[in-house]
């Protein structure tokens, strides 16, 4: 595992993506960070032998939920005030609309509210034709930065 510290979200995307790519979950499941912007994160899961296990040879629903949570936390890092951090996930709700069977599954997270509790909307879709696989809502507790009341 890499000992490098996490780059700021606004560092060059290649640098941020390379950091996350070395995390065990990300490496084994072939999860790639594709985009980061204020209040937004996009990941892609490239299907491999680790991530399947759902019905009809689809990506495991637990893996999809975990991806939604990961993308939500990443999108929140782009809106944190200096010294702030994502404390933990507080609530996660996910509705499965269709089986995720594409070679590339896309996960997009958009921050909807920032406060002590932050709210993120996440959509997971088929990387080939864009149809919706899952819609999720993730709320996280944020720790404020120093010097901010």
């Amino acid at each position: 595992m890499t000992a490098a510290s996490e780059p700021r979200w606004d560092a060059p995307l290649a640098e941020v993506a390379a950091y996350w790519r070395e995390r065990p979950f990300w490496k084994e499941l072939d999860i790639r960070l594709e985009a980061l912007a204020p209040g937004y994160a996009r990941l892609a899961l490239h299907r491999n032998g680790w991530s399947v296990g759902g019905v009809r040879n689809s990506v495991n629903g637990g893996v999809l939920a975990m991806l939604a949570e990961s993308a939500a936390q990443l999108s929140l890092r782009t809106v944190l005030e200096p010294g702030g951090r994502v404390e933990r996930t507080q609530d996660l709700g996910i509705s499965y609309a269709s089986s995720a069977v594409a070679a590339r599954t896309v996960v997009e997270a958009r921050v909807r509210r920032v406060g002590r509790t932050a709210l993120v909307a996440v959509e997971i879709s088929d990387g080939d034709d864009g149809h919706l696989n899952c819609a999720a809502r993730v709320s996280c507790l944020l720790a404020r930065g120093e010097g901010v009341s």
């Binding site: 595992m1 065990p24 979950f25 084994e28 499941l29 032998g49 680790w50 991530s51 296990g53 759902g54 019905v55 009809r56 689809s58 495991n60 629903g61 637990g62 893996v63 939920a65 975990m66 949570e69 990961s70 404390e87 933990r88 996930t89 507080q90 609530d91 996660l92 709700g93 996910i94 509705s95 499965y96 089986s99």
Partner: protein, 138 residues
């Protein structure tokens, strides 16, 4: 449904690469319920359980608990419809994930999930719904 023998079920589950990666181990299974143990995986630098691992374990538990109520000669598993999970506090060194089928209709199972520490104190509360189809699995 005939329940799997406990030890082979545990070995089969624990041997799955995804489960090893996330530190999810099989503990108990019975008609309408399943229980997993979640801890940082061997070799991990983490000292506490990741909520990402718990999220995955909750879905697996909903699926497997439902599976114990399905008659595979005339029904088939059709996928998770929805999962809701609320954390009461941060997980510690180990989490126990127990899923219990509360309602079993012809097309849907409603499953309650409790996530606790080893002493039984609540970490999270969950609910899942799982879709079931008529007809044997193809």
């Amino acid at each position: 449904m005939a329940l799997p023998p406990l030890e082979p079920w545990r070995r089969g589950f624990d041997g799955q690469p995804l489960h090893r990666l996330l530190g999810i181990r099989a503990d108990e299974i019975g008609e309408g319920y399943v229980q997993f143990l979640v801890a940082p995986p061997a070799g991990s630098v983490e000292r506490t359980v990741s909520t990402l691992a718990i999220t995955t374990a909750v879905d697996l538990a909903v699926v497997m608990a439902t599976g114990t109520t399905v008659d595979h000669r005339r029904e088939s598993m059709n996928g998770t419809a929805e999962i809701n999970l609320t954390y009461a506090r941060e997980p510690g060194e180990e989490a126990v994930v127990r899923a219990t089928v509360q309602h079993r209709g012809p097309a849907l199972a409603v499953v309650e999930v409790r996530v606790t520490d080893a002493a039984g104190a609540a970490i999270a509360f969950g609910r899942g719904t799982y879709s079931i189809r008529r007809g044997a699995e193809r």
